[in-house]
C-alpha cells in the first residue's frame, strides 16, 4: 500500500543515544497497515527502546517516525494515535476494570455515557463483561492482561504496541493467550508492533519478524524466511536451535559440497560460494541411522529423555552435534556407535 495510507508505521534512520552509549543505531523499517511485526532479540538489543520511541515515551536522538503518513517524531505520547500494552499491564490499581477501560475515551471527551458504551463493547469482545466492577488486584494474570488489551483497543488506535505481553503469564497460558492476541489482531486488521525475546512466540504470531542485535537490525523477514534462511551465525543460533560447524565449501559439477574435519557432505546448491563457510544444522533435521550408514559416523555421548523426543549429544568428525531423535521406539546409551544423516537442503550454508 502507499506510504500515506491510514495506519502503517515508518521508522526512518532512527537512533537513540544515552550519552556515549548508542542503544539504537540508525534503524529503519516499515510496518504496513494490518500487519503484525515483531521485534525480536536478546536483552539489551534495543527492541524495547525502539518500541518506546514509537510510543513517544522516549525522545529520538536522530531520525524520523511517521504514523499514518504524519511525522510524529516530536509529538508527546498523548498526542500520537498509538496505544500500548505494558509488560506489567500498568492497570490503575485504584480504579475498577470499567474505569480503567474508560480512562482513554474520557481523556479525549468528558462524555461519561459515551465512554462507558465504548468500554463495555470492548470488554464484551474480550469476554470480560462480568468483571466490570472488580479491581485489578482481584483479577488473575490472564484477566489483567485482557483488561490491558481492552483498554488499549477502546481508542481504536492506528498502531497497537505490545511490550512482552506474555512474560508474566505461566507457560501453559502463554500459548492460548498468544493465539487470542493473533486472532484479535487479524479479525480487526490491527497494525501491531510486538516486542518479545521468546523466539517461539515470535514465530507463532508474526507476519514479519525484525531481529535486532546490539542496536541494529540483524535481519527482517517472514518467520519462514528467518528460520529457513538465516543470514548469519547469530541468526541461525538465535531462532531455533542450530549446530554450527566451521568448514569449507567447494562447488563442483554435482552441486556444492561442505567439508570439515576430514568428512564431506552435499549441501544446498543455489547461491553458495566456494570458500570458508559455516554450516547450520537444525537438530530435528538430523536423523539417527545405524552405524556405518549416513553422512557422518558418530558416538553417542549423552542422551536425555524428554517425553516427545530424545535429545542426543553425538560426537562426530564435525564436533559435538545436538540431535533431536523423535523415534521413541529405540533409545541410545552413552558410548553407542551410530550414524548421522541429513538431507542436502536441510543444511544452511552461512558465509564466514
Amino acid at each position: 500500500m502507499s506510504a500515506t495510507s491510514s495506519g502503517g508505521v515508518d521508522f526512518e534512520g532512527v537512533s537513540k543515544r544515552y550519552g556515549a552509549v548508542t542503544a539504537v543505531d540508525d534503524v529503519s523499517f516499515r510496518i504496513a497497515p494490518g500487519e503484525l511485526v515483531t521485534l525480536l532479540g536478546p536483552s539489551g538489543c534495543g527492541k524495547t527502546t525502539t518500541l518506546r520511541m514509537v510510543a513517544g515515551l522516549e525522545p529520538v536522538s536522530a531520525g524520523t517516525i511517521r504514523i499514518g503518513g504524519a511525522d510524529v517524531t516530536l509529538r508527546a505520547a498523548n498526542e500520537r494515535d498509538v496505544s500500548m500494552v505494558f509488560q506489567s499491564y500498568a492497570l490503575f490499581p485504584h480504579m475498577n476494570v470499567l474505569d480503567n477501560v474508560c480512562y482513554g475515551p474520557l481523556s479525549m471527551n468528558p462524555d461519561k455515557a459515551r465512554a462507558r458504551e465504548l468500554a463495555r463493547a470492548k470488554l464484551e469482545m474480550l469476554g470480560l463483561s462480568s468483571f466490570e466492577q472488580r479491581l485489578p488486584s482481584e483479577l488473575s494474570g490472564g484477566q489483567q492482561q485482557r483488561v490491558a488489551v481492552a483498554r488499549s483497543l477502546v481508542l481504536e488506535p492506528a498502531v497497537l504496541l505490545f511490550d512482552e505481553p506474555l512474560s508474566n503469564l505461566d507457560a501453559k497460558l502463554r500459548r492460548r493467550v498468544r493465539q487470542e492476541i493473533r486472532e484479535l489482531q487479524q479479525s480487526l486488521s490491527l497494525t501491531v508492533l510486538y516486542v518479545t525475546h521468546d523466539q517461539e512466540e515470535a514465530l507463532a504470531v508474526s507476519d514479519r519478524i525484525i531481529v535486532m542485535d546490539g542496536g541494529r537490525i540483524a535481519q527482517q523477514g517472514t518467520p519462514h524466511e528467518l528460520y529457513e534462511t538465516p543470514a548469519s551465525r547469530f541468526l541461525a543460533d538465535f531462532i531455533g536451535d542450530a549446530n554450527l560447524v566451521d568448514g569449507e565449501v567447494a562447488v563442483g559439477a554435482s552441486g556444492a559440497v561442505f567439508s570439515a574435519g576430514g568428512t564431506a557432505a552435499p549441501v544446498r546448491g543455489e547461491r553458495v560460494r566456494p570458500g570458508p563457510a559455516t554450516l547450520a544444522l537444525r537438530p530435528q533435521r538430523l536423523r539417527v541411522v545405524p552405524a556405518g550408514q549416513g553422512v557422518l559416523p558418530g558416538t553417542c555421548r549423552r542422551s536425555a529423555y524428554l517425553g516427545s523426543r530424545h535429545e542426543l549429544i553425538v560426537d562426530t568428525p564435525w564436533g559435538e552435534l545436538l540431535v533431536f531423535d523423535a523415534d521413541m521406539h529405540r533409545s541410545h546409551r552413552s558410548g553407542d556407535a551410530l550414524g548421522i544423516d541429513f538431507d542436502a537442503d536441510a543444511a544452511i550454508v552461512l558465509p564466514r
Binding site: 543515544r17 550519552g19 510510543a55 513517544g56 515515551l57 525522545p59 529520538v60 536522538s61 517524531t73 516530536l74 508527546a76 505520547a77 498523548n78 498526542e79 498509538v82 496505544s83 500500548m84 505494558f86 509488560q87 506489567s88 500498568a90 492497570l91 490503575f92 490499581p93 485504584h94 480512562y103 482513554g104 481523556s107 479525549m108 483498554r151 488499549s152 481508542l155
Partner: protein
C-alpha cells in the same frame, strides 16, 4: 542529545489555552480593579493616575500580556511576564521603607504574571512543552526564592551593614571575629568560651552520646532480646508530639534547686542543693532525652536492614560472636552511625527551647541570637552575624551528610525473603546494653511522669503534691454563661491560634512538597538537580535564622507581613516543605512509573495524570505529610518566637512566657494539654488510614530543631 522542539506556535490557539488566557486576563484585572496596596484603596491604575509614575510600566505590561497570549506570541509573552515581575518588585523596593506595601492587587498581579510566564516558556519548548511541569517548577522556585532565599540573604547581608545602612566590611569582620564568639579560653581552664565554641562543643557531645545511647538501645531491642521493646518504640514516637521544652521543664522540676530528686537526695543523703542542672550538663541531658529517639529510629532501621545471612555466614566461617559484631555488623552500621551523629549535631545546634530554659550562663548561638533581637541590646546586625555563624555550621553538617548519603548504601537485604535469624550479642556487650537501656527507659518515663502529674497537683516544683485543677482552670477555664460558652482561661487564645495556623499551613505544605516531589521524580528537565537541591536547602536553615530573617525582610514595605497570621503560616509552610518533598519522593519511588506512561498513551495530559493517577496513589504520603506538618507547627518555637504577637500568639511562645515568669505549673499543665491533643490527632489519623508508619524522617534527613 535529544531533539528540541522548534516548531513555531500555530496560528490558531491551542484549545487548552483557555486557561492560559484566563491567567493573563487575571493580571490585567489585578491592576485595573483590585486595591494595590496593603492598606486598601485604589487599584494600580488609580494610583498611577494620582501620580505614582513607577506604576505605568507595570500597567502597560499587564495590558500587553493578555494581548500576546491571545495572539499566540509566547516568546513575547514570556519576556513580558518576566519583565513585569522584575519591574514591580524593583519599583516596590525602590520605594524604601516608607513606600507602599503590596496588597491584594499586587500579589495577584505577581502570581498571575509568574504563572503566565511559566506557561509561555513551556509553549516555546522548555520543560518538554509540558505546561503543568513548567508551572509547578517556576512557581515553587519563585516562592522559595521569595520566602527562603530573599529573607535569609537579606538578613545575612544586614550583618555587613552599619546602623546607617552603609556597607561596612570592617564592622562585619568585627562582629564575626570576636573573642565573644570564637574564644577558646574554657578549654585551657579559663572561665568562658566563645558562643560558637560552646555550641560546637555541646553539639558534638550530644551527637556522640545520642548516637551511642541509640546504638545501645537498638542493639538491646533487636539483638539483646529486650522484652520491653514495644516501650522503646513508643518512646520513639513521643518526641513528635512533645512540645520542645517539656523535657527541660521536667528536668528542672526533678533536679532544680528545689527539685524533687534534689530534695530527696538532700534529706536522705545530705547531698547539698545546687544549681548543677543549669549549664552544659543540664542542656546536654535535655537534648539527649529529646534527640536520642530519632537516632534510635535510624539505627534500628539500619540494624534491621542488615541481612542476617551475612552474620550467619560469618558464624559458619568460625567467627566468634565478638568477631562477627566487629567485622560484619559494625562496618555495615557505620553509615547509619554517621547519619545519626550528624542528625544529633544539627538538632543540637538548632535547638532553642532546651537552652533557653536550662543553659544558664552557658551561652549558645540560638539563644544569643534571640537575646540580640529581643533583649535589651537590640542589635539586629549582631544577630545577623551570629545567624551567619550558625547557618555556616549547619550547612557544613548538611553538606557532610549529603556526601555520606550519596556514597553509602545501608540496605543489604535483597528482597528475596531472607529467613535468617540475627546473631545474638556477645554476653558482656549484651548485659551492658540491657543495663543502659533499662536506665534510659526509666529516666525518660520519669520525665514524662512528672509532666503528667505536674498539671494535676498544686506545685510539683516545690514538692506540693496536693491534687488540684487550679492550673488547668487558670489556663483552660470554661464558663457557661448567658451568651453560651465563654473560654475564660488565659491559654485558649494561643491554643486556638496555634491550631488554626497549623491547620492552614499543613495542607499547603503537603501540596507544595508533593507537587515538587512529583516533578523531581517523574520528569526530566534542565536544572532538575538544582531545583531538587533548592527544595531541600530549607532543611539546613535553623529556625532561629529563619525567624530573624523574616523579621528583617518582611517588616517593611513592600513586603510587609509581620504582625499578622500570614507570616506564621508562610514560615511553617516553607520550613516544613522539605518533609513533603522527602515523603513524596519516597512514596513515588513505590509507584510504578509505567502507570504514568500508560496514562500518557491513553491520551491524558500531565495534569490529568497527576490528578487521576498519581495523587490518589499518594494518599499515604499525603497523610504522613499532613500529620507531620501539623504536629511540627504545633510544637515549633525557634522561628516563631520572633514572629508571634499579642494578637497572634502561639502555644509554645505562651508557654515560654510562663516559664520565664516562673509559673511552672501552668506551663506544665499547658504542655500536658498539647501532648494529649496531638496524641488524639495522631490516633484519629491512624484509625482513619490504618497507617502505622509516620515516616517522619524518610531516609534520615536532617531537620533543624523545632
Amino acid at each position: 542529545m535529544t531533539a528540541t522542539i522548534v516548531t513555531p506556535p500555530p496560528a490558531v490557539a491551542h484549545p487548552a489555552d483557555r486557561s492560559g488566557r484566563a491567567v493573563a486576563a487575571l493580571a490585567l484585572l489585578a491592576v485595573l480593579a483590585l486595591p494595590w496596596a496593603l492598606a486598601g484603596g485604589a487599584p494600580a491604575i488609580g494610583l498611577a493616575w494620582a501620580g505614582q509614575a513607577m506604576l505605568w510600566p507595570t500597567i502597560a505590561a499587564a495590558a500587553a500580556l493578555p494581548a500576546c497570549v491571545w495572539r499566540g506570541a509566547h516568546g513575547a509573552a514570556a519576556a513580558l511576564a518576566g519583565a513585569l515581575v522584575v519591574w514591580t518588585l524593583l519599583a516596590g523596593f525602590a520605594g524604601g521603607a516608607g513606600g507602599t506595601s503590596f496588597g491584594l492587587g499586587a500579589a495577584l498581579l505577581l502570581a498571575a504574571a509568574t504563572v503566565s510566564g511559566a506557561r509561555s516558556i513551556a509553549r516555546r519548548g522548555a520543560f518538554k512543552a509540558d505546561v503543568t511541569v513548567s508551572t509547578i517548577v517556576v512557581v515553587i522556585a519563585s516562592l522559595l526564592g521569595l520566602f527562603i532565599f530573599y529573607p535569609v540573604g537579606r538578613s545575612l547581608f544586614s550583618a555587613l551593614v552599619d546602623e546607617h545602612g552603609g556597607f561596612a566590611l570592617g564592622l562585619a569582620a568585627e562582629r564575626l571575629l570576636t573573642e565573644d564568639i570564637w574564644g577558646l579560653a574554657c578549654l585551657a581552664g579559663g572561665a568562658h568560651c566563645g558562643v560558637a565554641v560552646n555550641s560546637a562543643i555541646l553539639a558534638t557531645v550530644v551527637g556522640l552520646l545520642s548516637t551511642l545511647i541509640a546504638l545501645v538501645l537498638a542493639l538491646a531491642v533487636q539483638r539483646g532480646g529486650l522484652r520491653q521493646a514495644w516501650l522503646v518504640k513508643l518512646m520513639s514516637v513521643l518526641p513528635i508530639v512533645t512540645p520542645p521544652f517539656v523535657i527541660a521543664l521536667a528536668l528542672v522540676v526533678l533536679f532544680g534547686r528545689t527539685g524533687l530528686v534534689t530534695g530527696w537526695l538532700g534529706s536522705a543523703f545530705g547531698v547539698p542543693r545546687s544549681r548543677w542542672i543549669y549549664g552544659l550538663p543540664g542542656v546536654t541531658l535535655a537534648q539527649l532525652l529529646s534527640f536520642t529517639p530519632i537516632a534510635f529510629m535510624i539505627l534500628h532501621g539500619a540494624l534491621a536492614a542488615i541481612s542476617p545471612a551475612l552474620e550467619e555466614a560469618a558464624q559458619t566461617l568460625r567467627a566468634s560472636r565478638w568477631r562477627v559484631f566487629r567485622s560484619v555488623t559494625w562496618p555495615l552500621l557505620r553509615p547509619a552511625l554517621a547519619n545519626a551523629f550528624l542528625l544529633g549535631f544539627v538538632e543540637s545546634l538548632a535547638d532553642f527551647a532546651n537552652p533557653i530554659v536550662l543553659a544558664g550562663n552557658y551561652e549558645v548561638l540560638s539563644t544569643k541570637i534571640f537575646f540580640a533581637v529581643a533583649g535589651a541590646q537590640h542589635d539586629p546586625g549582631r544577630a545577623a552575624a551570629l545567624a551567619m555563624v550558625l547557618l555556616g555550621f549547619t550547612l557544613l553538617a548538611f553538606w557532610g551528610q549529603q556526601r555520606w548519603l550519596g556514597r553509602a548504601s545501608y540496605v543489604t537485604v535483597s528482597g528475596k525473603g531472607d529467613g535468617g535469624i540475627a546473631a545474638r550479642l556477645p554476653t558482656g556487650l549484651g548485659r551492658l546494653c540491657m543495663g543502659v537501656s533499662a536506665a534510659w527507659i526509666v529516666f525518660t518515663l520519669a520525665c514524662y511522669a512528672v509532666i503528667l502529674v505536674g498539671g494535676f497537683v498544686k506545685d510539683v516544683g516545690r514538692g506540693d503534691m496536693t491534687l488540684s485543677l487550679t492550673h488547668f482552670g487558670a489556663g483552660f477555664g470554661i464558663d457557661t454563661g448567658v451568651g453560651g460558652l465563654t473560654f475564660t482561661g488565659s491559654a485558649w487564645n494561643s491554643l486556638f491560634t496555634t491550631i488554626e495556623v497549623a491547620a492552614v499551613s499543613a495542607p499547603l505544605t503537603a501540596v507544595i512538597g508533593l507537587l515538587a516531589a512529583y516533578v523531581i521524580t517523574r520528569h526530566q528537565f534542565a536544572g532538575r538537580r538544582s531545583f531538587e537541591f533548592l527544595t531541600m536547602v530549607a532543611f539546613a536553615v535553623p529556625g532561629t535564622v529563619i525567624g530573624v530573617a523574616y523579621i528583617v525582610a518582611f517588616n517593611t514595605a513592600p513586603l510587609e507581613l509581620t504582625g499578622g497570621m500570614a507570616i506564621l503560616v508562610l514560615c511553617f509552610v516553607f520550613r516544613n516543605m522539605p518533609v513533603g518533598v522527602r515523603a513524596g519522593v519516597a512514596a513515588l519511588a513505590q509507584i510504578d512509573k509505567t502507570l504514568d506512561e500508560a496514562s500518557s498513551t491513553l491520551r491524558a495530559s500531565t495534569l490529568r495524570t497527576l490528578r487521576r493517577v498519581v495523587l490518589p496513589l499518594l494518599r499515604p504520603a499525603i497523610v504522613t505529610t499532613l500529620v507531620f506538618s501539623f504536629t511540627h507547627a504545633m510544637t515549633a518555637v525557634s522561628a516563631v518566637i520572633f514572629l508571634a504577637t499579642a494578637k497572634y500568639n502561639l502555644s509554645t511562645v505562651y508557654i515560654i512566657g510562663r516559664v520565664e515568669a516562673g509559673e511552672y505549673p501552668l506551663a506544665i499543665a499547658y504542655s500536658t494539654v498539647l501532648i494529649f491533643f496531638m496524641l488524639a490527632v495522631l490516633l484519629l489519623v491512624q484509625r482513619y488510614t490504618g497507617d502505622t508508619r509516620l515516616g517522619r524522617r524518610a531516609g534520615g534527613a536532617l531537620v533543624t530543631g523545632h
